[in-house]
């Protein structure tokens, strides 16, 4: 119990650090941030506009006052308003976050369902045909960037074969079938990288677990091969896989931005990319904080799962 509280405490501190760094980025960049945000291609912006932006971003206040206001806003869930249309950032995030979560969730499930059994099987039959084909495929999948996979999937399945929609979004309530059809390709694209990573980790972890003394003990007890595999190999092998999985979530979340863009999936990345292009700073900060917070949360959950699986951690 004490361990769980401590781990949650660490997550809160990390969240605070992340927020502080995001806050500081604006001030760490050399020059006047307002001027930077308004300048394009080295053309000096209009001084009146700069003064107005400074006022809107509260840049004229002392730094500590700004920082305090920023943190207070965060604790109240106030992420500020868009510079472009004054729309509350939180409302935009609240609308889009569930769609992004759905995509990540679908991709992760797909990856886990494929990669865990495949990795285990490959480890048990190391050097066999399946192992070699799957390992080669995993290496290839790791090398293809998500946006390349996404684009090529659209080219082949949507443009040439015309079996899948090229992209878009329909709410589940409106048309469940169409919703899932539109979800399939982006989820598959997200799953590819994660599946490759998971496959490699599972394979290595199972191989490691197989060589452990306690597996020999389990066999010496006269357990069936199935019993040894399920209780003493896979269960132990999953523990390290979980940790590494948590760390790879960062790449996965970043990849989601690209995948949503490729498939026109209206998650968080659409307003994010629009805001980056328009230099809409509060919107970018709001979305970056949301996704980073999500990343911290996923890692917290992974660590708690880890502790549930490995009693040694709870004792530490």
């Amino acid at each position: 119990m004490a361990w769980i509280l401590r781990r949650i405490g660490v997550s809160l501190i990390l969240a605070w650090l992340v927020a502080s760094i995001v806050f500081m980025t604006l001030h760490l960049v050399p020059g006047d941030p307002a001027e930077l945000l308004l300048s394009t291609g080295g053309i000096m912006p209009d001084p009146g506009a700069v003064a107005e932006l400074r006022d809107r971003l509260g840049l004229n206040d002392p730094l500590l006052v700004q920082y305090g206001g920023f943190l207070r806003g965060l604790t109240r869930g106030d992420l500020g308003n868009s510079l472009i249309d004054d729309y509350p950032v939180l409302a935009e995030v609240a609308l889009r976050l569930p769609r992004t979560l759905e995509l990540i969730f679908a991709g992760a499930i797909l990856a886990i369902v494929v990669a865990l059994p495949a990795g285990t099987y490959a480890a048990l039959h190391r050097g066999g045909a399946f192992d070699r084909v799957a390992s080669g495929l995993a290496a290839l999948l790791l090398a293809v960037p998500v946006f390349v996979v996404g684009t090529l999937l659209i080219l082949m399945l949507a443009q040439w074969l015309r079996v899948m929609p090229a992209g878009g979004y329909v709410p589940f309530a409106d048309n469940p079938g169409r919703h899932l059809a539109l979800l399939a390709l982006p989820a598959l694209t997200i799953a590819k990288g994660l599946a490759a990573v998971l496959f490699r980790m599972t394979r290595a972890s199972v191989l490691d677990a197989l060589s452990r003394d306690h597996v020999r003990t389990a066999r010496a007890k006269g357990l069936t091969p199935r019993g040894v595999l399920v209780r003493h190999v896979v269960r132990n092998a999953l523990i390290p896989v979980l940790t590494v999985l948590g760390l790879h979530m960062g790449t996965l979340l970043g990849g989601t931005v690209l995948v949503e863009y490729v498939f026109n999936w209206p998650g968080l990345s659409t307003p994010l990319l629009r805001a980056v292009e328009a230099r809409d700073y509060p919107m970018v900060v709001g979305i970056v904080l949301t996704i980073s917070g999500l990343f911290l949360l996923i890692n917290l959950i992974m660590d708690l799962l880890y502790a549930a699986l490995d009693p040694r951690i709870r004792a530490a």
Binding site: I21, T25, R126, L258
Partner: protein, 616 residues
């Protein structure tokens, strides 16, 4: 090293193309030619033209220059600063460590693409922004690697020695630490470059990386998306080049990591289908009636990259009911491999190539696995050397014992748990209800070994194989465990095979002893006879090596040779004080010196009567 060649060459070629771009006879990659928009192969443009009529081949090669330039620049900057921070953090510890190393954890809290987008918002897109962001992103990797190396280098004696001599810190770091860091940093560098190529192309694809019209693979894919229906090849080329580059870099990273980290390197033997001989192929032999276990000519072979080796050769011994037989020998003598083979627990690379082992009416070495499984943990059980690693760390100890019961008896979980409680009590664990709920790491070494013994006894075995069960324990705990085993044997009449390298333990627990050296039995007999009148020079040397009263123990010079270097003749000859040329001439047979007494030495008769020995 061979694995480095293909990806290394490929990466080298790509780099060369990127570097040589200005020298190659290519058209200007940004010159537009609307007349030849989306044109197929033209003279001077073998891959055709893009949506603005620009030459695709030229853009691919110049794009490599942009992508790799950004990637290398950021990886190098991160490498230099990261290594420095790691050196500082590892060397000065304290505040330096906090600032240089721990602060890096925060960078890892951001998904990389998002941190990049945040900075792009502020500074606008462009190659400069990309290099800045990417170098910050890859900083933590270098810091961690260097920091870890410095910490481990600090603990080395030679670094301590140089430090004690008063050498200034920068010089120590440069001379002793940097060479060690070089390998891991190189691996990290290659990882950073590969990862930077992915990120750069991704951001450029989003239109937030390299600014058009500069050529970049990401931008080319972005542009080709709009026209993929009319000109799919336009999409194909940058995708293929990008994927190939990343694949080659990843493979290079893997190969580099293996080359730098010896733990993961080395060719792994391919698994081969376990060749299982048909049971009952050999003629049925009359088992010695009183023997619980009768091993004849056991030979184990292991496939290694250097060819097959035989760590156990022609091992024979027998164990009678209620008796304890000790197998004694140094590390590498083949004791454990022999018993592992009897239990059918050999690793897949090892196999029994010869011999028989009769366990009552059953021949163990050719028993099909399902039959063997019923015996294992049932009528024959094993206690291993290190109880910590031999118990599964994630299950309660009680559950692990109950599992052994349920593997052989059709009982409910509660009944198994109840039985396990009785076993805990029997092996002398106080407060079994509470102890059963403990995890292995919550117990002492002696307690863990008691759990292992309880597990082995769960199904009342006729034969118990103990593989150095006391080696990992304190001396006082050792004595307790030995007493426990002796007591349990008196109660149940279980036959015990006890592997050890300690003659003191042999004297305490066993009635008969088998001395093994380099995979062979060299002497065998009752403990009393062997201890009072050792026939083999090796046994004599072992006995002399035991500290006893005032006499100084004398060690045996040298070590047991590895199995691929076993001598042709007497395997002990190179270390033997009495060796003569004849010893090394040919393999020796085991001589029956007396009933129940065997020795493998051609000079044992003359050595047994020293007066007759001719001075050399």
């Amino acid at each position: 090293m061979k694995r480095l060649i293909v990806p290394g060459t490929l990466v080298g070629l790509i780099l060369l193309a990127a570097l040589a771009a200005p020298l190659l006879p290519l058209t200007d990659p940004i010159r537009q030619d609307i007349m030849h928009r989306l044109a197929g192969p033209l003279p001077g443009s073998p891959l055709g033209r893009d949506e603005f009529g620009r030459d695709v081949l030229s853009r691919l090669i110049w794009g490599a220059r942009t992508s790799l330039g950004v990637a290398f620049a950021s990886a190098l900057i991160a490498g230099i600063f990261g290594t420095l921070l790691g050196l500082i953090g590892g060397w000065f510890r304290g505040l330096g460590e906090l600032l240089a190393v721990r602060s890096m954890d925060v960078i890892l809290c951001f998904p990389p693409v998002l941190l990049a987008l945040l900075v792009v918002t502020l500074m606008g897109p462009g190659a400069g922004t990309l290099i800045l962001v990417l170098s910050v992103l890859y900083l933590p990797g270098f810091v961690r690697v260097t920091y870890a190396e410095v910490l481990s280098a600090r603990s080395h004696d030679y670094v301590e020695a140089v430090r004690a001599l008063g050498a200034p810190a920068p010089r120590i770091l440069l001379r002793t630490v940097l060479p060690n860091v070089a390998g891991p940093v190189l691996v990290q560098l290659s990882l950073a470059v590969a990862s930077a190529v992915v990120l750069e192309s991704g951001l450029s694809f989003l239109g937030l990386g390299v600014v058009p019209p500069a050529p970049s693979w990401g931008l080319m894919i972005r542009g080709a998306r709009a026209t993929m229906d009319q000109a799919p090849m336009l999409l194909f080329w940058p995708c293929a080049v990008l994927t190939l580059t990343i694949l080659a870099m990843n493979l290079l990273c893997d190969a580099l990591r293996d080359a730098v980290d010896p733990r993961t390197s080395g060719p792994r033997p391919r698994l081969r289908a376990v060749d299982r001989l048909l049971p009952g192929l050999l003629p049925r032999r009359d088992a010695t009636p009183e023997s619980v276990l009768d091993v004849q000519g056991l030979t184990v072979e292991i496939d290694t990259p250097r060819g097959p080796i035989r760590p156990v050769q022609e091992v024979s011994f027998n164990v009678r009911a209620g008796e304890t037989v000790a197998i004694v020998g140094e590390s590498g003598s083949g004791k454990s491999v022999s018993t592992t083979a009897l239990m059918g627990l050999l690793p897949p690379v090892a196999r029994v190539v010869n011999g028989e082992a009769w366990f009552g009416e059953t021949e163990l070495l050719r028993l099909p696995e399902p039959e063997m499984r019923k015996l294992r943990g049932g009528r024959m059980a094993m206690v291993f050397q290190d109880p910590m690693s031999s118990l599964n760390p994630v299950y309660r100890t009680g559950a692990q014992v109950a599992e052994a019961i349920q593997a052989h008896q059709r009982v409910s979980a509660e009944a198994a748990w109840k039985q396990a409680e009785g076993l805990f009590r029997r092996v002398g664990i106080a407060d079994p209800e509470r102890r059963m709920r403990a995890y292995p790491h919550e117990m002492s070494g002696g307690m863990r070994q008691r759990v292992m013994i309880a597990m082995a006894l769960a199904n009342r075995p006729h034969l118990l194989i103990c593989d150095e069960p006391t080696t990992a324990l304190d001396v006082t705990v050792q004595a307790q465990i030995l007493d426990l085993l002796a007591e349990l044997q008196r109660e149940t009449g279980t036959a015990i095979v006890f592997i050890t390298h300690s003659l003191g333990v042999v004297a305490e627990i066993a009635q008969r002893v088998v001395v093994m050296y380099a995979g062979q039995v060299v002497e065998q007999g009752s403990v009393a006879e062997v201890f009072h009148d050792p026939l083999h020079p090796y046994t004599r040397a072992l006995l002399a090596a035991v500290p006893e009263g005032e006499t100084q123990p004398s060690g045996i010079p040298g070590v047991v040779p590895p199995p691929h270097a076993f001598p042709e003749g007497c395997r002990f000859a190179p270390r033997c004080a009495h060796a003569i040329p004849a010893c090394s001439a040919a393999p020796l047979a085991l001589d029956m010196a007396a009933p129940g007494r065997a020795v493998r030495c051609i000079r044992w008769t003359e050595l047994a009567h020293p007066k007759e020995e001719v001075p050399a």
